[in-house]
Structure formats: C-alpha cells, structure tokens
C-alpha cells in the first residue's frame, strides 16, 4: 500500500506580525504616563548654625514680615509687589547689600514665599534668613 498519508506536523510558531503593534501600544502607554517632572521651587542656602558674622550696618537692609502679611523694609511699610523694584535699586547702589528677612512666628508661609520670590526676581544674591 503506497498511499499512506503523512500526517502534517502542526506548526508551533508564535505569530510575530503583531509584535510591532504590541510594542507600539506599550510605547504609547509609557509615553502618556511618563512625567519627566523635576522638583521646582525657590532655592536658598541657610546660614550655618552658630556662626555669627559682623556686618556693617550700611550693608544690611531689614525686611520684616508681620503676622498680617504686611512687609516693612527698613521700618517703612511696602507692598509685596513693590519689593522687587526697591531691592533692585538698593542692590544696584550697593552690591554688597544683604537683605535680612525676618518673619513673625504667626506669619503665613505663603507670604514668606511671596517675599522670597520678589527677592529672587530682584536678583538679590545675598539673602539672610533671620528668626
């Protein structure tokens, strides 16, 4: 008997046609979910503990924030939005000028950040945080 049919061996392959589609799907998922966010904020260097440096009075400007959010620059009341201009004028007259920020314990942190923001905008490099 010559007519014995050979059984076909079923092919055991994983179809790779859709591989690109799957990869695309994963790619889109990761592209959509990835947040390349870095921390953002106002950077400042705190003074080291214990070290007090004598500074000439003419080189220091006191900036006081009271509990109601009012700001006093050298004992004169000033609007927060005007700090930038005033400090810019001060630092252009005297580049060694240090702005010493003092805040009352009941001052809100948001006001303090606003004031620091203004000082940063005025490009004040020498900011001192007093307590």
């Amino acid at each position: 008997m010559a007519l014995i049919k050979k059984k076909k061996i079923p092919e055991a392959e994983i179809p790779t046609v859709s591989q690109a589609d799957i990869a695309f799907l994963l790619l889109l998922f990761f592209m959509a979910t990835s947040t390349m966010d870095t921390e953002k904020g106002l950077g400042i260097i705190l003074p080291p503990e214990g070290g007090t440096i004598e500074v000439a009075k003419k080189n220091i400007t006191n900036l006081v924030i009271d509990p109601r959010g009012k700001v006093l620059l050298d004992n004169r009341e000033i609007e927060i939005a005007d700090i930038k201009k005033t400090v810019q004028a001060l630092t252009s007259q005297n580049p060694k000028m240090i702005i010493s920020v003092k805040s009352h314990p009941l001052t809100k942190y948001s006001v303090y950040v606003k004031v620091l923001d203004q000082l940063k905008m005025a490009d004040a490099r020498r900011i001192s945080i007093a307590e």
């Binding site: 790619l27 390349m36 942190y109 606003k114």
Partner: protein, 135 residues
C-alpha cells in the same frame, strides 16, 4: 532593435527594523518614567513666579510639612526633633543633599523657624521651597 527595459527600483521603506526602533523607544520611556506616587501629606503648595528646577533628582530629599503641623520624610511621619538626626545622616551619606521643603501655604513661620533650626543643626543648609508656578 530591442529596448532593454530598466528594472523598476522598489520604492518601499524597509519595515523589518520597525519593531526594533519601537522597542528602543519603549525601553527609553520605560527607564525614564518615574512612577512616583507621592507618599507625602495632603497639602496645598504656595505659589511663586521665580521658581527654578532642581538640578538633580538624585541628591534631593523631601520634607513634608502639613498645615496641621505634621512632618513626613520618606513616607514616614516624624517628630520635629528627629529632623536633625535624619537629615544629619542623609547629609553625611550625600554631601550634595538638597532638602526640598514641601510645606502647605497655611503653615505658620513658627513651624518653619523650627524646621530651619533643625536643618541648620543637621548641617543640611541647601534648601528648596517647593512652589507651584504662579500665573
């Protein structure tokens, strides 16, 4: 006279390397993605205009301060007096450490003064006040 026909050049872009390219992009996004679900406290950040990005993500440790006066580092609630030991250890392990303070806008400066004092004792002087961009 017989004209010899020029064979037409195939005008298809080879697609065999497409999965490789896609996989390469996929691996890039997979490694660049930070699935960071903030394990911090519930708070509203203050707003500021002159905010800058922190230069590195590696040398940063976040300190959370909520308006109720709770403090959290690395997903754990901490006591205010333990800031100095925690950050002193972090600072010795990584001298380039920046402390990112994520404090609620309603926090009083009394609390922040205490935090400053503790950080100064820990010699972790590089501080960044997290804020949202003001419009």
């Amino acid at each position: 006279m017989k004209l010899i026909r020029k064979t037409k050049a195939k005008m298809t872009i080879p697609q065999t390397s497409l999965p490789d390219i896609v996989f390469m992009l996929l691996f890039f996004f997979m490694s660049a993605t930070t699935m960071r679900d903030y394990e911090g406290l519930n708070l509203v950040l203050p707003f500021a205009k002159q905010i800058e990005k922190l230069s590195s993500d590696v040398h940063v440790s976040t300190l959370w301060v909520s308006k109720e006066g709770m403090l959290s580092v690395d997903g754990k609630l901490i006591d205010i007096n333990s800031i100095r030991t925690i950050f002193y250890e972090k600072r010795t392990a990584d001298p380039q450490l920046t402390v990112s303070i994520r404090a609620d806008a309603q926090v009083t400066m009394e609390m922040m003064h205490k935090v400053h004092k503790e950080l100064r004792l820990a010699d972790a002087l590089k501080v960044n006040y997290s804020a949202n961009r003001a419009i």
